[in-house]
Symmetry: C2
Subunit: 224 residues, 2 copies
């Protein structure tokens, strides 16, 4: 949960994004942001290095929260990364107004677009670094691909939610992440009921392996 | 293939990166780059907007080449994206000295690291945009995930090649991209010999679908 400093910062971010979306990013001064947020210019610069920083300050808070979440103990590091992405997504669902305003502001200022890409990449890097520590035996490339897929999926659905209203929900993200999760590592969970049971699958030669996997998954889930 | 302007630009890029790696990025002036490349300051600024631009000018050339490649006719757009990534990778294999120098320079200057992330993202965006045009019926998220995986894989192996010498080859990339390719779309190629044949697979219930797919793939490839 955000602490008091985070809440204070979020208040400033929110006021700044409101001003940017009303007046434009370039036309809004730090003094106007400080006034709208009811703080002094000095306090602004103690909390944020620049006008640009304030646009992404909520990401700083969420990156710290994702990092904190991952630092706890987890049975399954792949699941933990998916859960961290869910936490970020759900937080943005709550902050939807702010995210929507940022979307509008960022897409008018190329420097902010670049900064958004770099910010998004920091989640990817956080996930890869965590997986490397948590799964030292795992092939590096699997962790890189997994983190890239999780981050791209999160960003894509977040953008749809922010841009198109409620079209993308956290349930969509949960389902998409579960699909990605199925593609990596092994689940060590004991197979409860079906332990020792065998599955026989018959399919035309030439069927793509992913398609086989997908059909099997659906059938196996139906059986549960 | 690079044309004359590209070759000229690459010559300047190469001289600039050599100077940056010898003297440091901040300590090298545009005048020194121009002198080393045997051009005037004016010619430098006709070709590049800034000292920062020159660091990534070869990416501009490769992005244009990838775009040109994708604009041609392709039977399979997924394969075309993998081939475009291969083209970029192989070009960097030829330019290995330059890529190695850039690696050293970029990792000392935070602004250049950010710029590298943004540049990498432009390949991802190029791939997504192309797939959307080429496969209008395909789910958007598949194309986003595919492009993110291809780009992350390319960048990871490129970084290993540049940082650790010849450890990652274009054969590694080809194999990794083929794995990603198997995960999406359908291959419409006619199943030659095995047409109409069926495969029967037996495996313990609870085996992860991806693992089933992987085992099947290996067995089916052995049979070929």
């Amino acid at each position: 949960m955000p602490d008091d400093t985070d809440r204070f910062r979020l208040h400033v971010v929110s006021e700044a994004l409101r001003l940017f979306s009303e007046k434009g990013y370039e036309a809004t001064s730090v003094d106007e942001i400080a006034e709208a947020a009811g703080i002094s210019r000095r306090t602004f610069f103690r909390q944020f290095r620049s006008k640009e920083d304030v646009v992404f300050a909520d990401h700083e808070i969420l990156l710290a929260q994702a990092q904190e979440y991952l630092a706890a103990d987890h049975d399954d590091p792949w699941d933990a990364v998916c859960d961290a992405a869910m936490i970020v997504f759900e937080r943005f669902s709550q902050w939807n107004d702010m995210a929507t305003r940022r979307y509008a502001v960022v897409h008018e200022v190329p420097a902010l677009r670049d900064r958004e890409i770099v910010t998004g990449f920091r989640y990817e890097r956080l996930f890869v670094d965590y997986l490397r520590r948590a799964l030292p035996g795992e092939p590096d490339l699997s962790m890189v691909q997994f983190s890239a897929s999780v981050t791209a999926t999160h960003n894509y659905l977040l953008r749809r939610m922010v841009r198109d209203g409620a079209e993308a929900t956290s349930e969509d993200l949960r389902a998409a992440l579960a699909d990605i999760r199925r593609g990596v590592g092994r689940r060590d969970a004991p197979a409860a009921d079906g332990d020792g049971e065998m599955v026989v699958a018959v399919f035309p030669r030439g069927t793509a392996p992913r398609r086989v996997a997908e059909l099997l998954r659906r059938r196996l889930e139906e059986d549960e």
